[in-house]
Structures are given as structure tokens and as C-alpha cells.
């Protein structure tokens, strides 16, 4: 059974379904850029399972606006917490009312949303931005030794001028 509902009705509908005993099995985002004539590009696909009736149902929630927005259901089904974060991370779908909507799989400083259809494979030249704490400078090596006054060791602790080996 597949139903399509708009983002506006989703919050209310989810509460009714949860009260009816439906269990959230899965939630993921989909980018409809190259598929079918649709009004909105992004959608959220929700899989529900009813343990007593042994039934499944699929719900398509259309995300509206820019950035695409859908109300969060993490309060209705707490298990949606990670799933919504993943959909945000991969598609840039914003879940309104989510307690902690941050990237979950990609690095925090990542730009772009990898599973979008206009995000090509192999387009990214540099994977990680420079993080000063991870730089290890060994005495007598490295080009920037002269200008850097403070040096940190492997554990991020400052090496004093005097006790360098």
C-alpha cells in the first residue's frame, strides 16, 4: 500500500498512525530529479510495519520549498532521529523540529549533499579541510617551522620551546 501526502499533513498523520500501532521501519530521502513528472523534487519515503496485523505500508511525503522541508517525526517515533539526520546529510532535506539536525555520516564541514542526483561521483578533489590540531611538526623538519611559534605534539599538547628533543 503506497500513499502520498504533503508535508503539511505529515505531522498529524504520523501521530494518528503511531497511535494506531504502526512501527517505523525505515525513513529515507529520494531525489526525483530524473524520474517522472513531479511538482517537487525531493521526497521522504517512510516504511511502516504493523506487528499485530503483519502488514506493511509505504508513505511518500513531499518536501516543499527551498531548502526542501518536512516536519520532523522524531518526537512521534524516536527511532527517526538517526534516519532523519541521514536524509538531511545525504539530500539536504530539512526536518523542522528535529532536536539535533546535523550531519551524521559525512564530516561536519562537508559542502553539498552527496546523494542528490546533480552531485556527481568523483567530483570532489579534496576530502578534508585542514585541521590545525592534527598537524604534527617535528623539529628540524617541515617548511613552516620558522613562522610557527607554537608546536603541538601527537596528543595536541603544546611542546615548550625548551623541552623539544
Amino acid at each position: 500500500m503506497v500513499t502520498t501526502i504533503s508535508a503539511g499533513d505529515w505531522s498529524e498523520r504520523a501521530q494518528a498512525l503511531a497511535a494506531d500501532g504502526w512501527w517505523l521501519a525505515d525513513l529515507c530521502g529520494v531525489d526525483h530529479l530524473r524520474i517522472g513528472p513531479r511538482d517537487e523534487r525531493f521526497g521522504v519515503v517512510v516504511q511502516l510495519l504493523h506487528h499485530e496485523r503483519k502488514e506493511r505500508q509505504m508513505i511518500h511525503v513531499t518536501a516543499v520549498g527551498d531548502p526542501p522541508t518536512v516536519p520532523s517525526i522524531a518526537a512521534v517515533w524516536p527511532t527517526a532521529d538517526f534516519m532523519e539526520r541521514e536524509a538531511f546529510d545525504m539530500f539536504g532535506i530539512v526536518f523542522e523540529g528535529h532536536p539535533n539536525l546535523t550531519r551524521i555520516l559525512m564530516p561536519d564541514e562537508w559542502e553539498g549533499y552527496p546523494l542528490r542526483k546533480d552531485y556527481g561521483v568523483g567530483k570532489v578533489a579534496v576530502e578534508f579541510v585542514e585541521q590545525p590540531l592534527l598537524q604534527i611538526s617535528t623539529p628540524g623538519q617541515g617548511p613552516d617551522q620558522a613562522e610557527s611559534k607554537v608546536r603541538v605534539d601527537r596528543l595536541g599538547q603544546v611542546i615548550e620551546e625548551g623541552d623539544a628533543p
Partner: protein, 413 residues
């Protein structure tokens, strides 16, 4: 502020050493990192812990260290080729991954798998449950200080991996189960090897139980630790042995049978206590039930085709390609382009060793998946870990991680 000054400020605010995130002497709480590289975190799981002395007051799993964009990679493969990607996700249950992906594609194609194909797939998925639970048994024991559990678990797992190698050609990441059936028929002599496994295994499981089940140290460290109520696990979406250890009697193999599970009889072990020991009991009992299922499948193994012989879907047999030009053309088309799948979407779920493993595939009518999302049980089950360990000791946290049995390849995909 210069970069150097920033570093100094950051180190000052972070406190002593890079592993301590913050330290507030007034309430004596400390935020520390556990992982991502830690022997007890089973891969690259990082836990941000807030500790009050030795008690955990907050536990936040931070994941993504093994993320390689496998769902994106699937979109670049043809339908058959994506099997080789999904099998690498949950690397301890590769055959379950292949099975569920193939079932989803078959649903879109609207094709049937011959009975022999179904039986082979079910049999391998159950063997996979055994080999996966044996790794869990080893690591759970190891984390509790019982190093011999690791040796025993891996000794028996080796026997099963040898059987995989005999059947699929590989020990892990097989790419053996394909949409339409399995890649090759079972090799000659498979039954003798498998019956040998089935004969020795019950005694071996007794041996494991004698190692840990009544071991005072193990029982002391696991009973009453990491207790989750039935309501908690359901709310947090946990499935599989974790849910069954908390008294939630649900198993997709029995309640929504797929493949050959309708033809075999087996029990679903359920425990009430919901602690680490209950999860241990459930998994060990599951191994015995898996043996029963495999035994029945071997006895009933039907003859006939092992895959759907539609030449537009699976490559023709080798000897036919030596004789028939048409077969060569079919093979060429399948290898270079692959087959198309009617536009549509499907969600199929199976009971993997860790719980509900689902695949959601979308087709735009082309030769590769438009979207292939995997609902990995480890990813969802990991959310249980935070609430599970609040108020327990750091040492108990180790027991809890092992009992959740997260596979980071599946969590991060």
C-alpha cells in the same frame, strides 16, 4: 586571532590531553571520547561519554568513520553489479544483504525464483546467521575477559567460511546471490561437508555454553546490565535479538515468511529480562534453531534449476555458450549493458542476524538502480546504546556495546 593563538585557546578550553573534550571541576563531570579506535568499539565507532566519576551520565554515538557512499555507488552499477556493493555493507552478514537486495529487484521484475534457488539462498542465509553469531560470541567473550571464547568462536567460523568458499568461491563478500537465483549450482560434495558441520555443531555449541553460560565472572558482568524494557526497545526501533531479549516476540522469518522459511519449522527464542545476559541467551539459542533450519533444508533440497533461466536476466550456462550464437549474444548483452527493470519502487525486509534488514529500491526503467537505500539493523540498533548505558559503569558499557553487536560497515554504508 592567529592560528597559533587559536590552537592555544582550544587546548586550554579542552583541558588536559586531546581525549578529554571538556572538564568542569565544579560538578566533576568529564566529557571524554571513547574510540573511534578502541578495541571494544568493534570497528570505528566513537562514543562521546559524559562521566560522573565512573558512572556514565550520557552516551552519544558518533558515526560515519567508515562511510564510503555505497548507496551512491549502487547507482553507478547495473542491477547485477550492485550486488557486489550491497554485500560489502554489513560485512559479517554478506549473504543476507545479497538476499534482500535480490528479493527487492525480483519484486520489481515480477519474477519467480525456482525452489532450489530459494532453498540454497535460505540455507546460506542461515549459515550466515551462525557465522555472524560466532563472531559476536567471540567478541562478547573477549570483551568480558574470556579470551578463549574468541578462539573457539573463530575456530568454528572458519569451518563455515570454508564451506562458503567451496560454494561461492569466496570467504566473504560473495556476490553469489543474484536477482533471479544464485550464481552457480552447489558444487559436488557439498552435502557431505555440510552434514559434517551439522553433526559437529550442536556439541560445539554445548561447549560454548559450558564456557560462558554458568561462568561466574561472565554472569556477574552481564546479568542485570544494560536492561531495556520491551517498550523501550520498540520505541527506539530496535529489532532482532535485542528486541527478542526484551520479550518482544517478533521474527520476520516466522511472522512474515519469505523464501523457504514457510517450509521449515523452528522456534523463536525469546527472553524476558532484557539485559546483556538475555541477549547472550537469545543469540546462543538462535544458533541452535539455525542448525535445525539448515538440517531441514538439506533434507528437503529440491532438484531443478538454481536460478531463473530467462536468458535476458541471467547468463546462459557455459556449455550452451560454446554451441549457441544466441547464448553468446545474450551473455554479451548482460555483461556490457545489463538488463532493464520496469520503473517502480519496492521495499523488502528480511531477518538478518542483527534484525530487520530492508532494502528500498527505485527504478526509472533503466539498467541501474535509481536509488538503493539499505535499512541496516546496526544503524537503527545503535540508537538503543545511548539510553541503555545511562547510569551504568564504564566497564558495563563495554558489555553493552558487544551485546548490541553493531557492524560499522552496515552502520556507515
Amino acid at each position: 586571532m592567529s592560528t597559533a593563538e587559536k590552537i592555544v585557546t582550544e587546548i586550554e578550553t579542552r583541558g588536559q590531553g586531546a581525549f578529554v573534550e571538556s572538564y568542569d571541576p565544579s560538578d566533576e563531570r568529564m566529557v571524554i571520547n571513547m574510540g573511534p579506535v578502541h578495541p571494544s568499539t568493534h570497528g570505528v565507532l566513537r562514543l562521546l561519554l559524559e562521566l560522573d566519576g565512573e558512572t556514565v551520565t550520557k552516551c552519544l554515538p558518533i558515526i560515519g568513520y567508515l562511510h564510503t557512499g555505497m548507496e551512491k555507488e549502487c547507482e553507478d552499477q547495473n542491477w547485477r553489479g550492485a550486488v557486489t556493493i550491497v554485500t560489502r555493507m554489513d560485512y559479517l552478514a554478506p549473504l543476507s544483504n545479497e538476499q534482500v537486495y535480490s528479493m527487492a529487484v525480483e519484486e520489481l521484475l515480477g519474477i519467480e525464483v525456482p525452489p532450489r534457488g530459494k532453498y540454497i539462498r535460505t540455507m546460506l542465509a542461515e549459515l550466515n546467521r551462525l557465522s555472524s553469531h560466532l563472531v559476536w560470541f567471540g567478541t562478547q567473550g573477549l570483551d568480558m575477559g574470556a579470551m578463549s571464547a574468541m578462539f573457539y568462536g573463530f575456530r568454528e567460523r572458519e569451518v563455515i567460511l570454508d564451506f562458503y568458499e567451496m560454494v561461492t568461491g569466496l570467504r566473504m563478500n560473495h556476490g553469489y546471490i543474484i536477482p533471479g537465483g544464485v550464481w552457480e549450482d552447489l558444487p559436488p560434495g557439498w552435502e557431505r561437508v555440510l552434514r559434517n558441520i551439522l553433526d559437529t555443531f550442536p556439541k560445539r555449541i554445548d561447549e560454548y555454553e559450558s564456557l560462558l553460560s554458568a561462568n561466574p565472572i561472565f554472569v556477574e558482568r552481564t546479568k542485570g546490565v544494560g536492561v531495556m524494557s520491551r517498550k523501550d526497545v520498540l520505541t527506539l526501533g530496535a529489532s532482532g535479538p535485542i528486541a527478542r531479549a526484551s520479550g518482544f516476540d517478533w521474527d520476520l522469518r516466522r511472522d512474515m515468511p519469505y523464501e523457504a522459511y514457510g517450509d521449515v519449522s523452528f522456534g523463536v527464542p525469546v527472553e524476558k529480562n532484557g539485559d546483556v545476559y538475555a541477549r547472550y541467551r537469545v543469540r546462543v539459542a538462535e544458533m541452535r534453531e539455525s542448525l535445525k533450519i539448515i538440517q531441514q533444508l538439506v533434507d528437503k533440497m529440491p532438484g531443478g534449476d538454481f536460478k531463473n533461466m530467462d536468458p535476458k536476466l541471467t547468463p546462459p550456462p557455459r556449455d550452451e555458450m560454446n554451441r549457441s550464437m544466441e547464448a553468446v549474444i545474450h551473455h554479451f548483452k548482460l555483461v556490457t549493458q545489463g538488463y532493464t527493470v520496469p520503473a517502480g519502487e519496492a521495499y523488502v525486509a528480511v531477518e538478518s542476524p542483527r534484525g530487520e534488514l530492508g532494502v528500498y529500491v527505485v527504478s526509472d526503467g533503466g539498467t541501474s538502480p535509481y536509488r538503493c537505500h539499505v535499512r541496516d539493523p546496526s544503524f537503527v540498533n545503535l540508537q538503543v546504546l545511548g539510553p541503555m548505558v545511562i547510569g551504568s559503569l564504564v566497564a558495563d558499557l563495554i558489555a553493552c556495546i558487544a551485546s548490541v553487536d553493531p557492524i560499522m560497515g552496515g552502520v556507515d554504508r
